[in-house]
Amino acid sequence: MFPENHSRSQIYKGQPYPAIPFHRADRARWSTPSCFTRLLLAREGGESKVGRLVGIVPADAGPPRGEPSRGAEVLVIIGGKTWPQDLRWILAISASAVAAAGCYGWEWWAEGLLPGGSSRTGLACGVAGGLIILFELLLWPRKRVRSWRLGSAQTWLRAHIWLGLLAVPLVLMHARLLLIGGWLNLALMATFLIVIASGVWGLCLQQFLPTMLLEQVPAETIYEQIDHVARQRCRDLEKLVGALCVGDPQTPHDHSHEADDDGAEYAVVTGFRALTGIQGKVLETIPVYSPIPGTLPIRRCFFSEVRPYLLDGKGPGREGLASAAAAAKRFAALGAESPPEAALLIEHLAQACDQRRQGDLQMRIHRWLHGWLLVHVPLSVSLAVLLAVHIPVALWYW
């Protein structure tokens, strides 16, 4: 069967890739069949033979999506390998919150009145909460001046999270357990609570979405480049289809064969390589011969279904390839009505659609992963403004 140290696109400049050490655990993990059928180039006697398309077989290599992959345990904000540090933070803020609550309760009992922001405990909590909010805001400029080496980003993020959570009880005690009045105070408290809630929401998302992204999107790329990569891949496939498929007589002036009019025997297209759960993009050289007879359905399928999907992703009228199962059926049917020599081309089409599908999923996850920042960061600015006014006003009319 397929050598375990080779990927599906193992041809680079006509030579096999060198063997890469492979972990046994990964091999055992990857032995599970994938949820979708993959088109692979079968090989005869384990030897590489360029350009011989002999059929379509189910995939038995590559990381099955939806299962834990290596390194998933480190993709959480709280817990994982950093749990000892988190535990120290939890103990510290818990002790601080309990101490503050004890002082607040004692003053409440002694005075008989719910201590407000001007009371001893209330003011102390307010000052502490204000300093914490100021520190939380410093995370923003800290990202702007990474070169200053003001502590590691991980330390800053952990302090941002835990101190932010500690600010909640402090601010609540400063605000008389929400029994406050005045529109400025109400706006300040509402903004603070929304910022905290959005931060907690973002923290919860960060706990599992990166792992999901790693598992569900092995071909993850830069978010901003998803469409660009898809367009580039579409152009590669246009070149392949134009070179290997016969022209469509219904289409006037079909000069697709003229795409490779340079007379070269090989075409350089984008290939994919999967290793240890990560899919990478490589440049693959495909031998180009004359158009394969009987590939007109492939050509029509590409231009009517595959190309729009690659360029625009999932959308109205493009739901067929957006589903992995439906796409597998579609390409299986396409392979059945096409000559065996076109299996490589169909495999590239299927791979491209799979990549686009992952790109769409990555964009959705990315929006969830970063969408909360559209609330968290702007309202933090509002919080800073309101706090900057609240402090002098409160001290003036103490």
Binding site: A110, E111, G112, L113, S118, S119, R120, L123, A124, I180, G181, G182, W183, L184, N185, Y223, E224, Q225, H228, Q232, R235, D236, E238, K239, V241, G242, D248, Q250, T251, D254, H255, E258, A259, D260, D262, A264, A267, V268, T270, L283, F303, S304, R307, H370, G371, L373, L374, V377, P378, L379, V381, S382, L383, V385, L386, V389, L395, W396, Y397, W398
Partner: protein, 527 residues
């Protein structure tokens, strides 16, 4: 099937060309998230600034925790009228100093002049005005409705929070009993109700019975018709006042509590006695108007000078109530002289001497003097007996000055007189608390004054008085703390069909005041 689109020639075929197609400076071009975030940050900043600018224009609603009480509404937009800049107005802050407290209190005392709470209070422990009277609680907030904790902060351990010297102005001596709340366990018994300081001999039991008899029950009273007091024995004006509608003059008199204990709201328009309620500083109806002899006793007690029977007395012969001993002597002498002259006018026919001397009166004159003296002595004895029915008397010695008899040198005329000391019946019994009868008017009087009910007048009967007529000045007829906590307590679950106990307010300020704590007893009290 629609025709496939036109084939697009690839842009490059070599790896260099393909690598060149990748935008390696993509991060310089912000994506949609970054652009949206920048705009939202700008919008949030502007919103924050705008909100604060709005607050600067409308300070009370933005910066004040709430509307001030209606009594301070005139200063709603003038924060500095009460708040000193950068000076805590309350007492429980880190930066409160005697100077800051003095500054904040000065603003309050510009309008409110209050007395100290207790002469033994420790000045350093007394908080600022705003520490107890928290404003900005809304227009209808009662600034005097402070929490119990402001009181129990000291009274829970009162011995630690006061000096040892007590002023008589502090009222009844308070104990060192810790007070933490109002109930039978955490609040001492009412100190004002421990004993009756009154010196008026009065029996509610007899006066509340039918016909004002000594009999213990109404039936026994009816059996002794001779002792019944009827409406017909009253003056015509009094009959109209006391006799119920449809009653007959021959019906025995039946008094009610309201016959003597009148409240201002129940008085007719134009009754000047209402003024006394306002002068006392209590709300109308809080306390009954004072019981006076002229208004409530004279209908039956005419104070005759001699025993003429129970018939309607001659008004001119009735002793004025409240007269002093000298006045009583002049009244009795004048009355006796008039009656003597009317009985025997011989002295009027005697010629006047050229220089009338006290000792040179004729035989007729001496006879008249003796007659007058005899009549005065008899009337005095009779009046003494009349006064003794209700009052404790003190002996008094009068000089001859002021006597109508110019030759009055008999020592017997100087002695034997008496005066009536003040009754000392408290106008307001609760000296350290307030009570308002008006909210309690739905209850029967017997609920709190059961001892005044003839059916329950079973107290110790003094020697010489018939059963059922205990003298009220020997007992307090006001229910104490145990009666109050029935209602003034937390709501307690009650079985179905039974009245719910508790539910009325029982906080300290419901009954007590802090400044001028005996507020209903003083004039010019602070609000």
């Amino acid at each position: 099937m629609p025709p496939p689109p036109q084939f697009t020639p690839p842009e490059g075929s070599t790896s260099r060309e393909q690598v060149a197609r990748i935008d390696r400076a993509y991060f310089h071009t912000p994506n949609g998230f970054a652009v949206a975030r920048r705009w939202l940050i700008l919008l949030a900043f502007l919103l924050g600034v705008g909100w604060c600018a709005w607050g600067a224009w409308d300070q009370p609603r933005h910066h004040a925790p709430g509307a001030v009480a209606h009594v301070h509404a005139a200063w709603e937009h003038d924060c500095e009228a009460c708040h000193q800049p950068l000076s805590p107005i309350r007492n429980n802050t880190w930066l409160t100093t005697p100077l800051t407290r003095q500054a904040s209190d000065a603003a309050c005392e510009a309008c409110h002049r209050v007395a100290i709470h207790d002469s033994r209070q420790i000045a350093a422990e007394v908080g600022s005005c705003a520490s107890c009277h928290t404003d900005h609680q809304g227009r209808s907030a009662d600034l005097t409705r402070v929490s119990d904790q402001t009181c129990t902060a000291c009274h829970a351990q009162i011995a630690r929070h006061r000096s040892s010297v007590q002023s008589p102005a502090d009222g009844p001596a308070s104990s060192d009993v810790p007070i933490t709340r109002f109930d039978n366990e955490h609040h001492p018994a009412f100190a004002s109700l421990t004993e009756d300081p009154g010196r008026l001999k009065f029996s509610h039991g007899r006066h509340m019975r039918l016909g004002l008899t000594f009999g213990p029950t109404a039936s026994s009273a009816r059996s002794a018709d001779a002792t019944l007091w009827t409406y017909g024995q009253m003056a015509a004006g009094d009959q109209a006042r006391y006799r119920p509608e449809g009653g007959s003059p021959s019906d025995p008199v039946q008094l009610a509590c309201s016959s003597c204990h009148e409240f201002a709201p129940s008085l007719a328009d134009g009754d000047l006695r209402v003024i006394s309620a306002f002068v006392a500083g209590a709300p109308p109806g809080a306390y009954p108007l004072p019981v006076t002899f002229e208004n409530h006793c004279a209908a039956c007690h005419a104070l005759p000078t001699s025993g003429r029977g129970p018939g309607a007395p001659d008004a001119s012969a009735a002793v004025p109530h409240g007269i002093d001993p000298a006045g009583l002597r002049q009244f009795l002498e004048g009355l006796a002289l008039r009656e003597s002259l009317a009985a025997d006018g011989a002295v009027l026919r005697e010629p006047l001497p050229p220089r009338p001397l006290p000792a040179s009166a004729g035989a007729e004159g001496r006879a008249l003097r003796g007659l007058v003296e005899q009549r005065v002595a008899g009337s005095r004895t009779f009046v003494r007996g009349t006064c003794q029915k209700c009052h404790e008397l003190e002996e008094a010695t009068l000089s001859a000055t002021g006597s109508l008899l110019p030759a009055a040198t008999d020592a017997a005329m100087e002695a034997g007189w008496f005066r009536v000391p003040p009754t000392q019946v408290p106008g307001v019994w609760l000296g350290k608390a307030r009570f308002n009868h008006q909210p309690h008017r739905s209850f029967s009087c017997q609920r709190c004054h059961a001892a005044a009910d003839p059916a329950s007048a079973t107290g110790t009967v003094p020697v010489g008085l018939p059963e059922g007529g205990p003298l009220d000045h020997q007992m307090v007829m006001i229910a104490g703390r145990e009666s109050c906590v029935v209602c003034h307590a937390p709501t307690q679950p009650a079985p179905h069909g039974e009245p719910i106990r508790g539910g009325a307010r029982f906080d300290c300020v419901e009954c007590h005041g802090y400044h001028n704590s005996n507020s209903h007893l003083f004039f010019g009290q602070a609000p």
